[in-house]
Amino acid sequence: DAGVTQSPTHLIKTRGQQVTLRCSPKSGHDTVSWYQQALGQGPQFIFQYYEEEERQRGNFPDRFSGHQFPNYSSELNVNALLLGDSALYLCASSLRDIQPQHFGDGTRLSIL
């Protein structure tokens, strides 16, 4: 039973570029949430997808967008990258929204 899988594991981009991160939820889960974790900080909620729609959103600018596909997998897109976007991006899945969330290993994004 595969858990949450994320790709790629590491990524290096330059300022102004765009990036797409991918996530496959744990089998049986239908809700995907994305978090940004800066070094030494707790994860910060970006947004959550359920039934292919964004259901909740945290305090992140419109440069951060996402998508959920019919098979429940999800993408996180970030446009016009800034140095401050360097972080670990975590995807978490759950069955519905308030159940415990299962996290993937994350994508480490570095902006030069």
Partner: protein
């Protein structure tokens, strides 16, 4: 919006000593979830507390939810080196609102 504060930020203990981390909110929480993140790893769900005054145990770990549902604690008895990591409390309202975490270091 809802916020949870955690103390202490760091704790260094000798193996075998006890450890406690506290989580506080200014608003009533519908639930508390605790997660552990090992260095270089991702958060792993430990437990969820829902009821006022609830106490749950997992081997050497004891979790409490306050009577007013505004605070919670995690206590580890006789720490081991495998307990090393950052412990986060979070309120789950669909989105997880994480505290800052308490990083535990255990000296063997």
């Amino acid at each position: 919006g809802q916020q949870v504060m955690q103390i202490p930020q760091y704790q260094h203990v000798q193996e075998g000593e006890d450890f406690t981390t506290y989580c506080n909110s200014s608003t009533t929480l519908s639930n508390i979830q605790w997660y552990k993140q090992r260095p270089g790893g991702h958060p792993v769900f430990l437990i969820q507390l829902v009821k006022s005054g609830e106490v749950k145990k997992q081997k050497r770990l004891t979790f409490q939810f306050g009577e007013a549902k505004k605070n919670s604690s995690l206590h580890i008895t006789a720490t081991q080196t495998t307990d090393v990591g950052t412990y986060f409390c979070s309120s789950n309202t669909g989105k997880l609102i994480f505290g800052q975490g308490t990083t535990l270091q255990v000296k063997p």
